[in-house]
Symmetry: none
Subunit: 230 residues, 2 copies
DNA sequence: ATTACTAGACCTCGAGTAA
DNA sequence: TTTACTCGAGGTCTAGTAA
């Protein structure tokens, strides 16, 4: 059960700063913003709190409100939709990060035939074993969210007798101006880490060591350039 | 009278391409997207057409729908709200362009004392004479528009007996990872050209010649700039 | 001043159905 | 197949009011 109206309420709350921290807002003040009665505003807040969209701290004379986990997700999804509409021809995402040691799961992808065969076919290169891992600066994390909206180049999961291997999405990218491919496993825990694969040893080519800051460009490439240029 | 629900309908229509041109969509298909009944979808379309949010072309078996002037405005307003929420702390603009020969007016700025004094004070360097000019790729022109919203570092205009010299705005920037400053005269004709000043000869340092492609990052804020809206 | 409950007015929805 | 009307059920709103 998901009320369409809540999106608007969440949006208005976000606009007065409830995204970052608790803001003091009375139900009457909110009703003025929303153009409804105090009672309705109050009801919205109660319902939204119950659904986990917002957190509230009720005082005797004032309440403080903050957008919760679920509310943030809803707003983000909405934002992405609008981005798709208005920013449709966006071609790439730029961000900064720093090199870290490999923690990601991406190393599997570079050594298992079931994956490397797909790389050869879909990316037209055989990656060297291992991935270059970049932790995205937190100022740029929001930019990463945009990636969710794009399919990229699909790498299919598969199964052997022993276990199953998950799928992933790939995006052509540049790291410090050198072409590479970023690979995002479908099921990953590290939402701030990008893993790069390449036909070269990126660390050597770029002369990188842990902690080095790098500039990354991720090509979203919705154009038809990737798929079939026969 | 303005229905909140219509925003969602408009958004879904926009996502299937109704922003650019007429799309064929039956009321049943729309109802599936919206998660409501065919009757309700039909009613939405009728109401929204009446309010000027959409244009319709009714055929005998199919209708074609396009987002109208008013609908476009509503979506745009919505998008801007979300931009405020999520893009508020945007720190820089990334774009690509190519080096061109100096056509801009920026060369004045690097040779006239009235300007260079301000550069020394506000940018803390004395630029070498001349500017590096970059024509922005047209895919990134929309990104440039965002610059309008930022004051940057103000360079004041001034007058001598002979003539008057206009003001400009400066932004710290990077061109192919080398720090530089982009200078935008208040009155400029070339809306797709960026002019860079630097304490070094950028062409030499970066080994650039006309036609070379460069990556540019423009830093919007020097930290604690207030974000007062229009 | 607050928040939020209750009750009834009002509106919105979708099944049925016509064209 | 379409679009879109009517109308009754049920959901949502606000006035009144308590705490």
């Amino acid at each position: 059960m998901m009320k369409e109206r809540w999106i608007k309420v969440l949006k208005e709350l976000a606009l007065i700063g409830a995204m970052d921290s608790y803001v003091t807002i009375s139900s009457r003040a909110l009703s003025k913003i929303l153009g409804c009665s105090q009672q309705t505003a109050s009801r919205y807040l109660i319902e939204m709190e119950r659904m986990g969209c917002i957190d509230r701290k009720l005082g005797i004379r004032k309440q403080r409100v903050r957008i919760g986990e679920k509310g943030r997700e809803l707003l983000q999804r909405e934002y992405l939709d609008y981005k798709k509409i208005f920013d449709a021809r966006r071609r790439d995402i730029f961000l900064k990060g720093k090199v870290i040691s490999g923690l990601g799961e991406g190393k599997y992808y570079t050594t298992i035939d079931g994956y490397t065969e797909q790389f050869r076919k879909k990316l037209r290169f055989t990656p060297v074993p291992g991935t270059l891992n970049v932790r995205v600066n937190k100022d740029y994390l929001d930019r990463l969210m945009e990636l969710k909206g794009y399919e990229g180049i699909r790498i299919e999961g598969f199964s052997t007798e022993d276990r199953s291997f998950g799928g992933a999405r790939c995006f052509h990218a540049e790291i410090n101006n050198l072409d590479a491919v970023v690979i995002i496993p479908d099921r990953t825990h590290y939402m701030d880490i990008l893993e790069f694969i390449s036909p070269f040893r990126l660390r050597d080519r770029l002369n990188l060591k842990d902690g080095d800051h790098v500039d990354v460009i991720i090509h979203l490439g919705d154009g038809d350039e990737e798929s079939g240029d026969s």
